[in-house]
């Protein structure tokens, strides 16, 4: 192998890169396969407007799942993302409606609320040593309750600044733009910052991280605060698409967000996970739903099919990885 000529090495290395990319973004194969199947089944699937549709539909879960990626890489779990998203949207709408603050300030207030709630999760996890499952399960309930209390159960109109995030700028849908920017930011944090790298260290071996002088607790708080912030952003996109902050928004999204991250190759045991994988996971979920809709699969069978596709997509990835390791 060391005897290959320079030129061959050159091509090999590009090909190797492709192979490596595929190998480390396993669900991508599943996603592409699914898209091909859907295209065969119905040509509508591959039209530009429909693909934009899929992108828009993936955006909310994807943005939440970026935050969730931090949490899962650091060996935690965050069940409160959906509730935090709803709360953040509601805070924006409420402050805008009652305080008369300008829209952008209301938007920022909502985002901060998400970050703050997330930090509370992190605090409970790091300093009060509540398992993250319990801390965020409690917050799932608390944040949803607060949303209802604030809104008195009524949907509220969101300010223009929030609606902008859900609208289209000419032909370009803002949710996709926000997803791309948020994904880039998340990938950047995970890959290039010291905090991002320590998330992997904490998730991979918390004791080693602690002994190496990494401020584990502070980073745990940061991780959950980031998850809150990204959830809040997702909540803004969601509310923006509907021009409305609804007290029931994003109910149950936690499972979708976690699924996106895990389908993307992360391990719930921590230490492993990538933003590119998470994007693929979120797209996979959106494509499945979009495809089943277009094919008019009965809503009862739809759930069966969704489950099977998730299992098969992840299963293929697992098998491929096992083969690669032989």
């Amino acid at each position: 192998m060391s005897s290959t000529t320079a030129s061959t090495t050159g091509t090999t290395s590009t090909w190797d890169k492709v192979k490596h990319f595929l190998a480390s973004n396993g669900a991508l194969v599943g996603l592409v396969g699914l898209c091909i199947l859907l295209f065969i089944a119905t040509p509508v699937f591959l039209t530009g407007p429909n693909l934009l549709n899929v992108g828009i539909q993936a955006a909310t879960v994807a943005i939440m799942a970026f935050g969730m990626t931090f949490v899962i890489v650091a060996a935690g779990i965050d069940l409160s993302v959906g509730s935090m998203a709803a709360l953040a949207g509601m805070v924006s709408a409420y402050t805008f409606a009652t305080s008369g603050w300008p829209g952008p300030i209301a938007l920022i207030a909502g985002l901060l609320a998400g970050g703050l709630i997330g930090a509370v999760n992190g605090f409970a996890n790091a300093y009060f040593r509540l398992p993250s499952f319990i801390a965020t399960l409690a917050m799932l309930s608390i944040a949803r309750g607060l949303t209802l209390v604030i809104s008195q159960g009524l949907p509220l109109s969101t300010p223009e600044s929030v609606n902008f995030l859900g609208s289209s700028l000419g032909p370009v849908p803002m949710p996709i733009v926000v997803m791309i920017l948020a994904g880039a930011a998340a990938a950047f944090i995970l890959r290039y910052t010291a905090i991002g790298r320590s998330m992997y260290a904490i998730g991979g071996n918390m004791e080693a991280a602690r002994l190496a002088g990494i401020p584990v607790k502070k980073i745990q708080v940061t991780v959950f605060a980031l998850s809150g912030l990204f959830s809040a952003l997702a909540g803004m996109v969601l509310a923006g698409r509907l021009n409305t902050a609804s007290p029931q928004a994003a109910t149950g999204y936690e499972l979708d967000a976690i699924a996106a991250v895990v389908i993307g190759g992360a391990s719930l045991a921590g230490g492993v996970g990538k933003i590119t994988g998470t994007v693929v996971g979120a797209l996979l979920l959106a494509v499945i739903r979009n495809g089943l809709n277009i094919l008019n699969v009965s809503s009862f069978w739809q759930q069966v099919v969704i489950g099977v596709v998730i299992a098969v997509a992840v299963g293929m990835d697992v098998m491929r990885r096992n083969e690669a390791s032989h």
Binding site: N50, N53, Q57, L148, G153, P155, T244, S246, Q248, A250
Partner: protein, 297 residues
């Protein structure tokens, strides 16, 4: 272009609509009410020879928004929407309207948008009727419990609001507790059991849907219909049976199948360019033992 493809082949009265694709976006299929609504629509679509795609938003406003976007992508000629949330559905509907796709709203409206047709039964009015009927069954006095639906949903809000307005008229009736059972039968059972511990002297229960009402009569056991009057909402088959048996005093029947049928009719009219009724009120009926026979097939 899109219209051109569908026309031409046939020239009978329903020519344009025959074979045309219509999407029915239902808020949730987790509730027999909407299942019945769908069945009514599907039957009518078959009769009229149109192809009806049904999607289920599972009570998630943004899923519904996705599904409405998908409807446009697959070239629907008309869209029947049963909004999860009247406010949240607005942007998605506006996109369809600006693509000149006729919209028929069913059961719930679309806030501030002029849809082609709105077919509804009035939840607030239904709540008021429920209050009156329950009060009568209780002898216009006593204590009442309210089982609320999923907090923040429009159905829960409107029915609750109507009931509250209606019950005010009866000064001897006092609402001693209102708790959510999330439109779920099991929770209706649990919450009623719990509340009866705190308020054993209650003589009336209003549930914001029949599922919770059926849970409540299960909790009351032999007391149901004798010591405690339970009133539901929706008029599902199970509830009708319970009314017949005397375990439930009544429900507000909305004739969901009729809602579905009328929605399809309006959609066909819209596609054919025939006149469309802007609003089609479907009466809500107070069902009690007196008239339940009419509703049992």
């Amino acid at each position: 272009n899109r219209d051109g493809g569908a026309s031409g082949s046939d020239s009978t009265a329903d020519s344009k609509a025959t074979g045309a694709k219509v999407v029915l976006a239902v808020s949730t299929m987790n509730n027999p009410f909407f299942v019945t609504l769908r069945d009514g629509a599907v039957a009518e679509a078959e009769a009229k020879g149109i192809s009806l795609d049904v999607s289920d938003a599972q009570n998630d406003a943004s899923t519904q928004s996705n599904q409405l976007a998908n409807a446009q992508a697959i070239g629907a000629k008309a869209v029947i929407v049963n909004p999860v949330d009247s406010d949240a559905v607005v942007p998605a509907v506006q996109r369809l309207v600006s693509a000149s796709i006729p919209i028929i709203a069913v059961d719930r409206g679309v806030t501030g948008v002029e849809v082609a047709s709105f077919i509804s039964s009035d939840n607030v009015a239904g709540g008021r009727q429920a209050a009156e009927a329950l009060a009568k069954a209780m002898g216009e006095k006593g204590k009442v419990l309210i089982l609320q639906g999923v907090p923040g949903t429009s159905a829960s809000r409107e029915r609750g609001q109507g009931f509250a307005e209606g019950i005010k008229a009866f000064s001897d009736i006092q609402v001693v507790g209102q708790q959510t059972a999330n439109f779920d039968r099991t929770q209706g059972l649990n919450v009623t059991s719990n509340l009866m511990q705190a308020h054993p002297d209650v003589t009336g229960i209003f549930a914001e849907n029949d599922e919770m009402a059926l849970g409540a009569i299960q909790a009351l056991g032999a007391k149901a219909g004798k010591d405690v009057m339970v009133f539901g909402f929706d008029g599902t088959p199970d509830a009708m049976e319970a009314i017949q048996d005397g375990r439930m005093v009544g429900s507000i029947a909305q004739e969901p199948a009729e809602l579905g049928k009328l929605a399809v009719d309006q959609a066909v009219n819209a596609i054919n360019g025939d006149p469309v009724d802007e609003t089609v009120p479907v009466p809500v009926t107070t069902v009690t033992k007196d008239n339940v026979a009419e509703f049992l097939q």
